[in-house]
Symmetry: C2
Subunit: 337 residues, 2 copies
């Protein structure tokens, strides 16, 4: 082999990485060209190009994402609530005294009409009974097992497959550009942590959620463990989202993504900072490929992931971008043909 050939090969190795990057595919391939995709690309360009007047230093590149309805399907019911209901038979095996006690009796009956009529307090009672009282490790094992077996009724797929491909692309794109991506969810922090790393590439320490306290103690062998307690520390919805962001991150995000009225304050808080800011809301307007609900823009009303007309108007007024699932997304799920 001549020196010239060796030199060319060595140079090829050195230059290979930048060549690969230059020829990379569109990082937002599942997005149709339009104002939503354009807003994301523009925001990333303006905040990450050295010398740009709106350049954001890498350590301040914080992007927060609601989960239910923003990163994965939340209809007909939040996945975690389904988990809690499906945990009730196991719970009753462990605590037989609950079998004939409401609201557990109704859940066990399987009577959908009666279940739909449970009060908020009764729902909270079910959530508390199924999400607390066990050790952190036991909870993780139980939730992991359920997630590996349970299937959504419509797509007959694991819930963790029902994530939105376009949002997965946004997560990756932002991380490739030096952003730290966080989940800021109304769902349980420990529940979402079980699958966030594998499903979204988001580690447990970057999951902010509704969270209850734990209690440190020792087992009979003197080994320490933490028990999940029914003591609410943070309801990570509405005003709780910026409060949770301050608690867990301590910086104001520069980009935030949501889909419901519960995300309003997070988006306001994000936009209130100086410099370039990106605030986006996913509108579920695709009954055919996913679901359609609002009630914004005349879409059917819902209690799960409510997107009011007032929120829509606030978005339009303040330069938040509303993402139309129907028009902005070429593809919704990775498993689509």
């Amino acid at each position: 082999m001549t020196q010239k050939v060796t030199l060319v090969r060595l140079a090829a190795v050195v230059l290979g990485f930048s060549a690969l990057v230059a020829h990379a595919q569109d990082p937002l391939a599942s997005w149709n060209d339009g104002p939503a995709k354009q807003a994301i690309v523009e925001f990333v360009k303006t905040t990450t190009t050295q010398g740009s007047p709106q350049f954001v230093p890498p350590e301040a590149r914080i992007a927060t994402f609601d989960q239910d309805g923003t990163l994965w399907v939340e209809h007909p019911m939040y996945t975690q609530v389904t988990y809690c209901f499906e945990r009730v038979p196991t719970l009753v095996k462990e605590k037989p005294e609950l079998k004939n006690k409401e609201p557990f009796k109704t859940v066990l009956s399987g009577n959908r009409e009666a279940i739909a009529k449970l009060s908020t307090n009764q729902l909270v009672e079910i959530l508390e009974a199924t999400l607390t009282g066990m050790s952190v490790d036991e909870f993780r094992a139980e939730a992991k097992k359920w997630l590996s077996e349970a299937k959504d009724a419509r797509w007959k797929r694991a819930y963790t497959e029902l994530t939105y491909q376009p949002m997965q692309e946004v997560l990756r794109y932002l991380r490739d550009k030096g952003f730290k991506t966080y989940i800021v969810t109304g769902g349980g922090q420990d529940f979402v942590r079980v699958f966030a790393e594998q499903t979204y590439g988001i580690p447990p320490e970057q999951v902010v959620g509704t969270v209850s306290g734990t209690k440190y103690g020792y087992d009979k062998n003197g080994k320490p463990f933490l028990t999940k307690e029914p003591k609410l520390l943070l309801n990570d919805n509405n005003a709780g989202k910026p409060e949770g962001i301050h608690l867990m991150i301590g910086r104001r995000p520069v980009a935030a993504f949501g889909n419901s009225t519960g995300d309003r304050q997070m988006l306001e808080y994000t936009k209130a900072g100086d410099g370039a800011r990106l605030a986006m809301l996913v509108l579920h307007d695709d009954a055919e490929r996913e679901y359609a609900y609002g009630p914004a823009q005349g879409l059917p009303n819902t209690k799960v992931g409510t997107f009011t007309q007032a929120l829509y108007d606030e978005a339009k007024k303040n330069g938040w971008i509303v993402i139309s699932m129907k028009n902005d997304w070429k593809k919704i799920f990775a498993f689509e043909p």
Copy 2:
């Protein structure tokens, strides 16, 4: 220039970085050779060498550090408590009704004997009044200003200069080996966040501390802000440390560093995990270069950073390493000649 020369130069560029690393200086240069330094080096080697039976994947490399007395000086009084006392005159200007009210009146008197006799409840009242009630941004600005001006009485230096050089080396060494370094402090989370990035290279989202809630609201122009509320969410001392670690990190650390009885549970929790674990305690046994207090090993007793003999015995029994400031540290502060 011949092709051979070009080739050699190109190869030199490619290989340059690893050569630099190979010839790097001792990363723990301020440590004397001895069991403490050896334990750190061994732990890093065994957890970060690919193929080692105790290899820890990068995402699980979590190391937690107490702050007061572990990373910086805590005697004669925790710096944050000094901050709170020195804030009282400003507070009284804003709220003149406090001027003749206890415990503020005593603090304003400057009578050290009377101040030393304040009850715990009175201390809590002072902390609450000086650390809450303002916006998160106002608090940050106030604390930052104070830290830039205040001087420790003994060394006549800014408090942020009173960090231990050997521990700064451990922080950097662990980060260079892929660890995420966290502060887990009994001090206020927001207070420590003000200087942790600049002082330790630890970003706000990696500071876990004693933390109160915030409240989201709007100013008269409709701009959102967060107010610091006197509602304790977590007392990050003793059992609160593993609880805070679960809340904020969601993973068990593989290495933990402390110096007092308040760090016991964090070290127990860290050591209770599988595989290689490192648990270390700084013993303040150097009255000449810093301070000497215990009461472990016959050192003078103290209420600030108490290190009991029981903790010392637990450490020895469980393979935690006690760091002797006197014997293990060549140098304590970066500013030493």
